[in-house]
């Protein structure tokens, strides 16, 4: 196995045009702009219409990332997709995206890591490159959360939005640029805190089939998730910094999972970072599951907040529970 670092050679994103504001939600459920803003920091989110699929969203973000890397889809050796909202359960969303991209020489598969899925995908992709099974890996997160939230449940429907983001992984050109350290964890004993209820289907096992509610919607114990989110993101901060031998004050930008501004602020406080060193877009997109970090990275690059040499820390958490962190020298 050849050593060396893996870099994120490009970024790409796609979000639907339709904006759903807190004022719009006030007309749909018993809520207020004030409640949503104070508890979550979310002001609006994007909603993909009925005719937009997770595959198409992911394809658009993936195509943008391939182009941003100066490559053609035919150059891609592996496509790894993270999604909690596949259009269909078989085949993998990655295969459908592969077909749309016409990336004929690639292997394509999905990972199920919920909001942590994109960092999981990058980690797996890096492994493929380091073990010389691929040179160019496209990692895509595509999440049509609007399709799985219960639009009558005010405690969850105000939180989520739709988006897709992507990156191309390649071997780094050297000079210490690339992924410096990663951390991944899960705790399946906390699965009931956040899950998507199963639909009626022949493959549903007996104990799950006995669940009263089988509507395919997202269910969440908000407070417990909140506590675990803060703890696990702080743990991920410590873990990646320690592995890389880097101190908190060296971080140029924290790009956290965008679920709730209160969780982001608590994590930033823990990391000793003032909010001007944290990329925040939860106000504009809400929680787009695993797409939050690639979208945030793309925007931060466009805004000139990530430049060559920037030290970027990413941390995330989600259903599973899963959590992860990654430190990159851009």
């Amino acid at each position: 196995m050849r050593g060396g670092l893996i870099e994120l050679a490009s970024t790409g994103m796609w979000v639907p045009e339709k904006v759903l504001t807190n004022a719009d939600l006030e007309r749909m459920v018993d809520t207020t702009d004030e409640w949503i803003t104070e508890r979550t920091g979310i002001k609006e989110r994007r909603i993909a219409g009925d005719d937009m699929t997770a595959v198409e969203m992911g394809y658009r973000a993936g195509k943008a990332a391939v182009a941003d890397a100066g490559l053609e889809p035919a150059d891609v050796d592996a496509i790894i997709v993270s999604t909690a909202t596949p259009d269909r359960l078989l085949p993998a969303t990655a295969c459908d995206i592969q077909a749309r991209l016409e990336a004929r020489d690639a292997v394509a598969f999905d990972v199920w890591g919920a909001c942590s899925g994109w960092l999981y995908a990058i980690n797996i992709g890096s492994g493929l490159i380091l073990s010389e099974q691929a040179e160019t890996v496209l990692c895509v997160a595509t999440e049509k959360m609007s399709a799985i939230v219960d639009w009558t449940d005010r405690a969850t429907c105000v939180l989520f939005g739709d988006a897709a983001g992507a990156t191309v992984l390649r071997r780094s050109g050297g000079n210490g640029h690339g992924i410096l350290s990663t951390y991944m964890r899960s705790d399946g004993t906390l699965a009931e805190l956040l899950y998507r209820s199963p639909l009626d289907s022949g493959s549903v096992p007996v104990d799950v089939a006995e669940l009263a509610v089988r509507d395919g919607y997202l269910r969440m114990a908000g407070r417990e998730v909140f506590k675990n989110a803060v703890r696990s993101m702080c743990e991920a901060v410590d873990a990646v910094l320690e592995k890389a031998g880097v101190t908190k004050d060296e971080i140029d930008l924290l790009v956290p999972h965008q679920a709730n501004i209160r969780i982001i602020e608590a994590t930033a406080r823990y990391a000793g970072l003032s909010m001007d060193r944290v990329w925040v877009n939860v106000d504009r997109y809400g929680n787009t599951s695993s797409a939050t970090i690639p979208v945030a990275l793309h925007e931060a690059r466009e805004a000139g907040r990530i430049e060559e040499g920037s030290l970027v820390l990413m941390v995330t958490f989600g259903a599973g529970l899963t959590w992860a962190g990654m430190l990159i020298r851009w």
């Binding site: 508890r39 407070r223 909140f226 506590k227 803060v230 703890r231 209160r262």
Partner: protein, 79 residues
Amino acid sequence: MADIESRVRDIIVTELGVEPSKVTPEASFVEDLGADSLDTVELVMAFEEEFGIEIPDEDAEKMETVGDAIKYLTEKEGA
């Protein structure tokens, strides 16, 4: 080390950003100290951190005033 009561008060002052003089035993976190539901979650997390304990949700929900928190944590520490 400071006594439990003053450690609890210090945490409340820092977490909720309130005047120390307002942190009286009768003061309710929500009614008097302006905490919202997530502030109370963060406050409980800070207590857990400071005292190295787990506070179950059922117990956390019963902690409505500064006095409730001091009493609960004193009992826990004594145990």
